[in-house]
């Protein structure tokens, strides 16, 4: 399946791009992260500490063990600092 993957703030800076389309069969967010980390060092660096990251599935805050079935858009970013 094809998934839109978005990066924000320093995650975006480490990956070097704001978004990309990823072809994956990953069942969960965690599996997708493993696939990405295996690709290139910049991904490994961006995803080195999952505790400092948050994930949103189709624009809703979610967890790393959440399933990807039916999800169109995954976003990775550091804790938010709005307000």
């Amino acid at each position: 399946m094809k998934i839109e993957v978005l990066y924000f703030a320093w995650v975006r800076e480490r990956i070097g791009e704001p978004r990309e389309t990823v072809e994956t069969e990953a069942a969960t967010v965690l599996e997708l992260v493993k696939e990405l980390k295996a690709r290139e060092e910049r991904y490994d660096l961006a995803f080195s500490d999952l505790k400092s990251l948050r994930v949103a599935l189709d624009q809703e805050l979610s967890e790393f063990d959440a399933p990807l079935a039916g999800v169109c858009e995954v976003a990775f970013f550091p804790p938010m600092t709005g307000g």
Partner: protein, 145 residues
């Protein structure tokens, strides 16, 4: 209820002009956040945002606030992009029957916007650029609600 995410500045006065006119409103509270420059080295603040999710996340916070404090109205404007010291970052306004409700709802909004609305702040100073880190206290603040 009005939720706006925009790069342009907003006029607090104009935003409040028609706010809180619903019947049985006894109290309105507004909050405005501005860019501070404590060390006199800040050139600008860059606010990155997640288009679409911002509006959805704020709407979710607003729906809960309206229900919990029986708000008669509420309003959120949040900016993104390059902001200079003194610039307005965002505003929240709440309208309720009693003042305790209006105050509490406004503080609830602020606590949730800080940790649950997808904005990220980067401070660009003469000495370099740094992403503003979320504080443990910000996440802890949610527990009181």
């Amino acid at each position: 209820m009005r939720i706006t995410v925009q790069s342009d500045d907003f006029d607090l006065a104009e935003a409040l002009r028609e706010f809180g006119k619903a019947p049985n409103t006894g109290a309105t509270v507004s909050f405005t956040g501005l860019v501070r420059d404590d060390t006199c080295t800040l050139e600008y603040m860059e606010i990155e945002h997640y288009p679409g999710m911002c509006e959805a996340a704020i709407a979710k916070i607003a729906e809960e606030a309206v229900q919990r404090w029986s708000l008669t109205d509420c309003l959120v404007i949040h900016r993104y992009g390059q902001l200079r010291p003194g610039d307005q970052i965002m505003m929240v306004a709440t309208a309720a029957r009693h003042r305790a409700e209006a105050f509490e709802a406004a503080e609830f909004f602020m606590d949730y916007l800080k940790s649950r609305a997808p904005f990220w702040k980067k401070e660009v100073t003469r000495d370099g650029a740094d992403w503003v880190a979320a504080k443990d206290a910000d996440e802890d603040a949610l527990k009181r609600w």
